[in-house]
């Protein structure tokens, strides 16, 4: 059931992938927790869109379930959970940053270039299935690395959760780009794991807030050497 023909589908996928990259850069550049979660929701929505496009453009029906799941879980359920956490702990803004915004953006740019060089062998390996892999795959690796960088540079616990989920989004996108998504059972298993991980981290944020009455990860320094 292909509504779109291949080239226009590919164009839309490129646009969506670029949009996802922009959301990742926005997360790095902002300071407000609520804004993080909103950006993450948008990113997941775009990701769902890319999945839908792959379904409609290339007729890979088994991705449909994964796309729907992405939209429902990552775009709706998890953001709601995070918002409730932020309301309960009443901390809105990330006050000081370990690495200031400009330097972070420079580093993210470097990561995009590095991601592209990693993707080199995969891109020109002769067994590439579909044409869009060449462009979207480096973007997915970049998002993954940026997710990791977010976790490394920010101090708030919620931000770390968002960073982790951004990495997961990057992975899902890379799965989509080079192999039209993993086998269905594996996709569902991955989604289920990510959901449980997010819930557990949420519970921990509540406990940290209760015992340390702050969610600054920097305070967690008692266990050394």
């Amino acid at each position: 059931m292909t509504f779109l023909d291949i080239p226009t589908g590919a164009q839309f996928i490129d646009i969506f992938a670029a949009a996802i990259l922009v959301t990742a850069f926005l997360i790095v550049s902002s300071k407000s927790l609520v804004f993080y979660v909103r950006l993450f929701a948008l990113q997941s929505l775009l990701l769902g869109g890319v999945a839908m496009l792959v379904v409609f453009a290339y007729g890979e029906t088994h991705i449909l379930i994964a796309a729907v799941l992405t939209i429902i879980l990552k775009a709706i359920v998890i953001p709601i959970v995070l918002w409730r956490i932020i309301d309960r702990i009443k901390i809105r803004k990330e006050v000081e940053l370990s690495i200031n915004v400009t330097v972070s953006l420079l580093i993210c740019g470097a990561m995009v270039i590095f991601a592209d060089s990693i993707a080199e062998p995969i891109r020109n390996s002769k067994q590439v299935l579909n044409p869009i892999a060449g462009r979207v795959f480096p973007v997915s690796i970049a998002i993954m690395l940026i997710g990791l960088f977010i976790m490394m540079s920010r101090k708030k616990a919620v931000t770390q959760i968002v960073g982790l989920l951004t990495m997961e989004n990057g992975l899902f996108l890379s799965g989509l780009s080079i192999t039209y998504g993993m086998p269905l059972i594996v996709e569902i298993g991955v989604f289920f794991d990510i959901l449980v991980a997010a819930l557990i981290l949420g519970v921990f944020v509540f406990r940290i807030n209760r015992t340390f009455d702050s969610i600054d990860v920097a305070d967690l320094r008692r266990l050394r050497h």
């Binding site: 192999t179 594996v186 967690l220």
Partner: protein, 486 residues
Amino acid sequence: MFSVLLGIPLIGAVVCGVNTKRRILEVATIATGVIALATSLWIARTVSEQSTLTSPKGLLFVDALSAFVIIIVAGSFLATALYSPEYLGRQVQLGTVSQKQLRLYYGLLNIFLFTMLFVLVSNNLGFLWIGTESTTLATAFLVAFYEKESSLEAAWKYVIICSVGIALALFGVILTYFASSSVVGSSANALHWTVLMSVAKKLDPSVLRIAFIFVLVGFGTKAGLAPMHTWKPDAYGEAPAPVSGLMAAGLVNVALYSILRFYILVHKALGDAYASDLLLALSLFSMVLAVPFMLVQKDFKRLLSYSSVEHVGIITFAIGLATPLAYVGALLHMLNNSIAKLLLFFSTGSMRGVYNTKIIRRVSGAMHVMPVTATVFILAVFAVTGWPPFGLFVSELTILSAGFGSGNIWMSVFFIGVITTIFLGFFYYASGMVWGEPYRKQEPAESDTMTQLLLVALLLLLLILGVAMPSGVSDFIQKAAKVIEG
């Protein structure tokens, strides 16, 4: 066969989830442990006859290697199940642990066993990844079992770092899937281990190289290879002793099993020494990194966790040597190391219960306070640092003779230097704890007979593996080593 193996822990978890009486929880968990061990031995026997065992739909698969690790995991679980009642019983009396928490503890323990066994029987590398991720989730609340600040911090670090590691591993799996789907076509069984092995030669080498790096960093984080080991001292230090024992004995082997699966695939596909050189580099680094932390240390549980980092390094070093003899040494070391770690964590757990501290300085004269546990502890320390009558000397010697035989002499000499230095640090602290006058006139408080029996039994097992290795075990290890050679 598989249904029994995977079903039992689930049933155990459900039973523990439902009722709260301590006696039933303990019996259920021990029963699960016994049946799991029995099934694993049964599987091992069948596998030793007809080399592999696959489920009808091909999703679950057991060969000699996975059967061997299943036995270790099931055995460690049974030991933990036998040790937990006394350890937690003491804590319940002190009031630090409530009845509801007990239910959570035993429930999660069974789920933890389920996830580990799930990893070991899955044929699909995707399922292998899912299983490893779920082990992290199952143990998250076990590490954060005590409501203290430090255990919460340890749990947070544990989950975050392991999730990041596992995410990287997922990327590795995706790349492997990409490489295999372009050869086998993107069907469901492209990630099946059996399929991958049959088509290994035709996979694209450059993709596999990058995939192996991500997998190594990912599962290396779970195993505790340096520099991804940073979560281990915090998690093992803060978790209850039985849990850290089970993690050090079971979970480490599961992570190493996953690395082994990918190592076999990549080693067969690339044919050159790329994969083993990577392993050698990381293993030497993690051995060296463990040394300073064991020479200067204040907390004896962190001391044991760094010993675990060192022994993971030793096993990966053995695998990295890439000769049949070295593989035998690696598997043997897996078995010996698990038993030694159980012994160490359980004996120090009892000491921590009696002295109520983790600081080494505040524990002394254990020989007077708890003679049996102290004797077992000091002998276990001798065992874990590779003294002869025990099994670890045998496995380390096999690894070394493989190292010297295969020509990389200087690395093996470096290896000997590391284990000697670690012995000095480890023994300095251990002898300080065991000999001398009891700290602040601690009156004798020996743990109950079941724990003593368990400790002595494990010690005897280690002694038997050292002095008179039963032929059945060594034949099975030979078969498992054949699997690694591909």
